[in-house]
């Protein structure tokens, strides 16, 4: 049961309140051509996979696809739309697989499950491992992996 005592003043949940096995499904987000163009500009990655519609007609994908890292970036934002966000101190690493293309107009959503958590040598923080699956509108897995987050512990 969620109580205010478990939350930081800004409503973020401390390590103690996060339960192993808890699951979440995010709202969907439609990935647009604009997202891909902006991400090419931000990252500087102008690979033909993402920027050349004519070339991609002949590819195995048949059209431009989103950068894998754009999908990764969007899911990281979707994770913060739970309404019950973690009191994350730092993102420390991830293992990630790009399983299928994200195409213009696809709507992706994020499913997560807290796989494990453990205390660290520092009393003010704990490590939380989150399994993540990114699916499209046909429920096909397009990306999956796990991330490690350092989360604040409730102040003594």
């Amino acid at each position: 049961m969620l109580s205010y005592a478990d939350m930081t003043p800004s409503g973020r949940r401390y390590f103690e309140e996060i339960e192993v096995g808890e699951e979440f499904e995010s709202p969907g987000r439609t990935v647009t051509e604009t997202d891909i163009v902006l991400f090419a500009g931000l990252s500087g990655d102008y690979n033909v996979l993402h920027t050349d519609a004519e070339f991609m007609k002949k590819s195995i994908f048949g059209e431009r696809i989103a950068h894998g890292l754009l999908g990764l970036t969007i899911q990281s934002g979707l994770f913060y739309r739970t309404g019950r966000v973690f009191a994350t101190l730092a993102f420390v690493g991830l293992k990630w697989k790009f399983k299928g293309p994200i195409k213009i107009g696809d709507t992706i959503r994020l499913r997560t499950r807290v796989a494990s958590k453990r205390e660290t040598s520092k009393a003010d923080r704990g490590l939380v491992v989150v399994e993540r699956t990114v699916v499209n509108q046909r429920d096909e897995v397009v990306q999956e992996g796990e991330t490690e987050l350092l989360v604040e512990r409730r102040p003594a």
Binding site: D35, S43, G44, K58, S76, W96, K97, F98
Partner: protein, 132 residues
Amino acid sequence: MTVAASHTFFEDTKLNDLVTSPAMTLSLYSGITGDVAVEPGAVAELLPLCLSIGLGWRVPQPPLAVLAFMSMDYQIVRPLRVGDTVYGTSRVVSRRTMREGGIVIEDHEIINQRGEVAQRGRFTFLVARRPA
């Protein structure tokens, strides 16, 4: 599938080849992820990763003819802040021929202005063969 000329194809990759990118100073960014900033001046951890892929397109050798980005394993070693200047290095640690092209595994590092490794990871790409 063929990729236009001026790419580094699978045949062009060499084991242990080290490539160093130009540097880039990190500035504020928001909006793309909808992510929450933890403290002022903190750089979202995924931003340097995203930028580093683009920095890899600004090296003297042509960009890798990537057919698919397959997987990665990535660690954030130390935080980066707005105003830090980073560059990237990339080294080919494995290459294996496949029917469609080849699998190339690279180790990447993002290094700050003090020479400290801020982020590192291992990337697996399916890379096109040179068109006949």
